[in-house]
Amino acid sequence: MTVLTVPMAETGTVSVTRRARVLRRLRRNPLAVVSFVVLLLAGVIALLSPWLAPYSVDQTDFARTFAPPGTAGHLLGTDDLGRDVLSRIMLGARASLQVGLLAVATSLVIGVPLGLAAGYFRAWDAVISRFTDLLLAFPFLIMAVGLAAIRGASLGNAAVAIGIAQIPGVIRVVRSDTLRLKSLDFVAAAVVDGASDLWVLARHILPNATSVILVQATVAIPAAILGEAVLSFLGLGIQPPAPSLGTMLATAQQFAARAPWAAVLPGVVIMGLALAFNVFGDALRDALDPKGDRR
């Protein structure tokens, strides 16, 4: 029995030191710290934006349309209807993050079980691969076009379209990690011990696959944020008058000659959000890389 307990105790300590090592590496990477702070700040602002925003997003002021940034009372100016740009950017960023999280949640809920099944059960692999091929054949914009034609354009449908388009990526990384983990001794030991397939998947494989899932999610969120902006810009996503960074840019395009700044700010915010996620995702992947500080 002692022989059995000793390795188990060791695995426990190994996982604790591994988490500590990952956190230490993240803390020592200035880019990781900066991007994390930016994301934290964006998250807090997005959560509190209904209370933080200086104006209501629908409050028009036709006496003051196209006020440039720096105008008293309107830090970032006003739009074609005299609405406060800062307030709309705050609420728009909130919508962007909502779509990002909703889309990635959709892709994980469907993609993770399918990836586990494809990697673990040989018989399912071929069927799930065909399903993945099928999903890939409909690029996200085409999927969104189809969904908008059938169900109408909305924030929810945009998030679903983006989420479905991200499923293949999730299946791919989870499948390959499951294949790797399945060949390791501790899984074989659990199987010999009489554990059911479901138990092995839930208790041994899924917990060890979380790091690849986490990295996949951090690159999928910025992609979803960009996707939402594109769809809303085209009129296939969030519908006016609800604030969205994409629709703000679409309006700005019509009035670009009169108010060029309106075409710049929402784009900078979208890019900032996506960049922070991408930088943090890179740092996280490096920190989780067992090969250490190679890159």
Partner: protein, 318 residues
């Protein structure tokens, strides 16, 4: 090799059939009577009955599906509700624009991406690498339709260097055609370039630390020859892989880019169709995109086995 080709072709055929079923079902999930949608202005009972009969809408579903596949295979996508012209003739004018835009964008992306990726790998830990990495991260994070917007605002409208919108067919005036399409192609290509750059850099770092490169260096080959002749060979695979994987993104990107620059391509046709509820056009667009995606990916996989003989043995990209 033949076995691999057959398996891949068979898989593609299955996917193509499945996607046709998805579109077929999707069209039937559209709100309202499809005959009403197809009828457009003339909604008399006789006209509706004629449409039902022509499109077999009075037949059982499996028969409808068989007829549907037959019509699609013959290139009969119906008639646009909005313009009354056959969808197939709309496609023949729109597709060349999109194909030209995409091919040009891929070429620009490959040149930029491979160049920056090699530079970043060779100049490891120096300012050149940081610059290339930073630009790639920004390229991944920037909304490209916004870049396009800014380009129109600051390059076309302000300086008049490029036309802000419009298109001239390449057969009419090749120079003017290029003038209209180069800016959209650069904008569309930058996102792809960022992905190619990151993959190239990573592949180059791997091969630069490999034994065969060390051997090449040890036998006294000049560094430039080591890089171009040995390490860089893999980057062709990288470009093909990225283009294959990012094809969906490229198609989506082309749709948006065309919309911004007012190019009369596939994408603009798609977006216009959604807003005008031009269902025959939407259906054709969705089905053709899926078919194009499947066929191009099959070709990419076949191209792999030509470029990298190892794949013929394992059946999977190395």
């Amino acid at each position: 090799m033949a076995r691999y080709l057959l398996t891949r072709a068979w898989q593609s055929a299955v996917t193509l059939l499945l996607s046709t079923i998805v579109v077929f079902v999707g069209v039937r999930a559209l709100p309202g009577d499809p005959a009403l949608a197809l009828a457009g202005e003339d909604r008399s009972p006789e006209a509706l009955a004629a449409i039902r009969q022509h499109y077999g809408l009075d037949q059982p579903l499996p028969v409808q599906f068989a007829q549907y596949v037959e019509r699609m295979a013959q290139g009969d996508f119906g008639v646009s509700i909005r313009t009354g012209t056959p969808v197939s003739s709309m496609l023949t004018t729109a597709l060349p624009v999109t194909v030209e835009l995409s091919v040009l964008a891929i070429l620009i992306a490959a040149a930029l991406g491979v160049g920056a990726g090699v530079l970043a790998a060779v100049r490891r830990g120096r300012p050149a690498e940081w610059l290339a990495n930073g630009l790639a991260l920004i390229g991944l994070s920037v909304p490209h339709f916004w870049l396009g917007l800014l380009a129109i605002l600051y390059l076309s409208v302000a300086t008049g260097l490029f036309p802000a919108s419009g298109f001239v067919p390449i057969l009419e005036d090749p120079v003017d055609n290029l003038h209209h399409i180069v800016l959209p192609a650069v904008i569309l290509g930058t996102g792809l370039a960022a992905i190619i750059m990151r993959q190239t850099r990573s592949a180059m770092l791997d091969s630069l630390s490999s034994d065969y490169v060390r051997t090449a260096k040890a036998k006294g080959l000049r560094p430039r020859a080591v890089i171009t002749r040995h390490a860089l060979r893999n980057s062709l695979i990288v470009v093909v892989t990225v283009v294959g994987l990012q094809l969906g993104g490229l198609i989506s990107g082309a749709v948006v880019t065309e919309q911004i620059f007012g190019l009369p391509g596939f994408g603009k046709m798609t977006i216009d169709a959604v807003f005008q509820r031009d269902y025959p056009v939407i259906q054709a667009v969705v089905l053709l995109t899926a078919a194009a995606y499947i066929v191009i990916n099959l070709l990419v996989d076949l191209l792999y086995s030509v470029i990298d003989p190892r794949i013929r043995v394992t059946g999977e990209p190395a």
